[in-house]
């Protein structure tokens, strides 16, 4: 019995629809919490939508999303190559610190030299942070999740330490670094921002995020390197048997993933941050990268869209206070989305439900037919 795919078939087979359903359920759970807290659902979600759909609002969303997209690419790349880069957080922090130091100490260099230099410094720092973990794993067999957690904290305190060094520290009373030189800034010109009515922090970062997306896609899908890394990711032993140097692949994968996280850090400070404050707790860009990579199915273009979505939620969420809604609602929504993505097998099972009911219907029909036959006899 062949027939056209039914609605349920499409839902149960399409990964993209699973993610959309998860997002829908996330907002649904958010609404339930709003009702429990006796707050207006329409006011909260209305504010969320209004704040990101104006031109200025949307330019904010793009600015917000840049570091999330690139951090998401970093984690997605690691997922593709079989490593779980929970260390993106630390790589992001050392990357942003390297960019800030370069942007302050070499501030006199002209823009076309300084900006690439800052990027390079950040990517080198991030890659180094990844490689250290890789060496610990390949040389001494130390669990990478464990050492990544350690290196997240080492990066955190290292950044705080560097922020206090006199050459870097803010001259005023602020517990932060100096601002980076204007030559290292990615901001659009002030006149352009004003005339176009964009967010005051609108910058070139998004273009770089798009280039990074294309590059990651190209490396993964179109190069031998990408093929080798994916092979190691899906089956280490088979890859080794096929003559791929597994240890070198792990190091390369961690270096690239780390460099991307470092780049994300650079984009954050050269775009909107300008300086780094002395942290009291981890800022969570790397952890957000994990979420973005998951929502984007570890596909570079998916990550681009997921990063924009995450940026929109973060920016829109910061406006929820105006309606008396706790901004943490956003974390609940995103957490629920990720939870449903994790259990998206339930969407696949929708089909089984249907086929079961179909089977029941068929069985009933056969039974009826049999009864009829019996009656005839």
């Amino acid at each position: 019995m062949t027939k056209n795919k039914s609605f349920l078939d499409i839902i149960s087979e399409n990964r993209f629809i699973h993610i959309l359903l998860s997002i829908l359920l996330g907002f649904l759970v958010g609404a339930v919490f709003l009702v429990i807290m006796n707050l207006s659902v329409s006011a909260a979600y209305g504010r969320l939508i209004n704040s990101v759909t104006s031109l200025k609002g949307f330019s904010y969303v793009i600015v917000y999303s840049v570091p999330y997209i690139v951090a998401g690419l970093s984690v997605a790349f690691s997922f593709k190559t079989g490593v779980f880069n929970i260390g993106a957080e630390g790589q992001f922090v050392v990357g942003s610190m390297a960019a800030v130091c370069t942007g302050i100490l070499a501030g006199n260099l002209p823009k076309p030299v300084l900006i690439p230099l800052c990027f390079l410094a950040a990517m080198a720092a991030g890659a180094l942070w990844g490689i250290i973990v890789g060496v610990l794993k390949t040389k001494w067999g130390i669990n990478e999740v464990l050492s990544m957690i350690m290196f997240n904290w080492i990066a955190f305190y290292l950044s705080n330490f560097i922020a206090g060094i006199p050459a870097i520290k803010n001259d005023g009373s602020a517990e932060a670094t100096k601002n980076i030189s204007d030559n290292a800034s990615l901001l659009f010109s002030k006149d352009f921002i004003k005339s176009a009515g964009l967010a005051p922090t609108a910058n070139w970062g998004f273009i770089i995020a798009i280039i990074a997306t294309l590059l990651v896609w190209f490396i993964i899908e179109k190069t031998t390197l990408g093929f080798e890394l994916k092979a190691v990711g899906s089956n280490k032993f088979a890859a080794e048997y096929a003559g791929i140097n597994v240890n070198r692949s792990i190091l390369t994968a961690l270096a690239i993933s780390g460099a991307l996280a470092g780049l994300a850090g650079a984009l954050q400070v050269m775009g909107m941050g300008k300086r780094i404050s002395i942290f009291t707790s981890q800022e969570g860009f790397g952890f957000a990268g994990i979420v973005v990579a998951l929502i984007g199915c570890s596909n570079p273009f998916g990550v681009l869209v997921a990063g924009l979505f995450y940026g929109a939620l973060m920016y829109g969420g910061s406006k929820l206070n105006l309606e008396g809604v706790p901004t943490q609602l956003i974390n609940v929504i995103v957490g629920t989305v990720v939870f449903f993505i994790a259990i998206s097998v339930i969407f696949e099972n929708l089909k089984r439900f249907k086929s079961r009911s179909n089977r029941n219907a068929e069985a009933a029909a056969i039974k009826k037919a049999e009864e009829k036959e019996g009656n005839k006899k």
Binding site: W140, I142, L146, M150, Y157, I330, N331, G335, A342, V345
Partner: protein, 314 residues
């Protein structure tokens, strides 16, 4: 000499106080990982426990009810993780990440609604976790002060050391423990022997959440008097690190937690007085861990079936 003994006493006190919450979290992590389920949601479960523990202690006035409810809040999130990973075969890392967002998200939102602030109201002395044996030692003498610092400590600290013993006993001396470990090594073999792998793992992940919740409640009921969004910043991950460090054994995790606790204690004592940079001192525990791993511990053997969803053969 007197000074030295005093300082040593304070460091030991701080070591015990700081390792206690980590130990609860680490025991929780042990249960889950050894049964074959990766649980990086410990952090979120601890946050849920920290909030619930203080709030219930505040409203009931009884620290023990608060402490227990903190555990139950952790167990609730443990159950969510169990449903996702054990029953529905979800990717364990993804589900854990979700728990780490949901736990803090929900409780900080509740704090905002209940207290109109992200911080809860500080607990009074009687609502805090009580200290055992205080007043037993004569603090006028150096020795007495030392003993007072070390032994007149929070009841939750005594409890956790007993808990380590119990968990060790359960893991290695009971039938339940043998089955639990087997589920993490070869679930298919367990099933053929008539062990219900799904039920075992479900129970272990819930226990894991319960213990993590107790650990969270410890942070806000001993080290501090109130819940803040920064109450739990990374303790959950450190607890997981301690378990990997301890090669997935409760006694090993104990060593790992004491190491982290000792370094935190050192930080508290040195931070006030010496001229050494605070941030560099804070880095010590993490650097030391890596060095210890390279020099002495080496490769950590992960339970064979850890991280792999178990799908019952039809």
């Amino acid at each position: 000499m007197t000074n030295f003994i005093n300082t040593l006493g304070i460091i030991l006190f701080a070591t015990l106080a700081y390792s206690t919450p980590l130990l609860y979290g680490a025991l929780g992590s042990c249960f889950s990982e050894v049964s074959g389920v990766v649980n990086i949601g410990i952090e979120g479960m601890m946050t849920a426990g920290a909030f619930t523990g203080t709030v219930i202690a505040y409203f009931t006035g009884n620290p023990w009810i608060g402490f227990l409810c903190g555990g139950l809040a952790g167990a609730f999130f443990g159950m969510l993780h169990a449903i996702a990973t054990v029953n529905l075969g979800a990717d364990q890392t993804i589900a854990g990440t979700a728990i780490n967002m949901l736990g803090p998200g929900i409780v900080i939102m509740l704090a905002k609604v209940m207290f109109n602030s992200t911080d809860t109201i500080p607990l009074s002395a009687t609502q805090k976790m009580p200290k055992l044996f205080s007043g037993l030692f004569d603090t006028a003498t150096t020795f007495g002060r030392f003993m007072d610092n070390v032994f007149a400590t929070y009841a939750s600290t005594y409890l956790v050391f007993i808990a380590v013993l119990i968990v060790w006993f359960v893991f290695y001396k009971t039938r339940f423990g043998l089955r639990l470990r087997a589920c993490g090594e070869h679930p298919q073999a367990c099933e053929t022997l008539g062990i219900n792998v799904i039920a075992m793992r479900f129970a272990c992940v819930c226990i894991s959440g319960f213990l993590a919740g107790l650990g969270g409640a410890c942070v806000t009921m001993t080290l501090s008097t109130q819940f803040k969004p920064i109450s739990i910043v990374g303790q959950g991950f450190i607890a997981i690190a301690a378990v990997i460090f301890g090669k997935f054994r409760p006694q090993g995790a104990l060593l790992g937690c004491l190491l982290f606790g000792f370094c935190s204690g050192l930080k508290v004592v040195l931070g006030g007085s010496s001229g050494v940079n605070m941030h560099l001192i804070s880095m010590i525990p993490y650097v030391v861990t890596v060095i210890v791993l390279v020099l002495f511990v080496g490769k950590s053997r992960v339970p064979a079936a850890n991280g792999k969803p178990y799908i019952k053969a039809k």
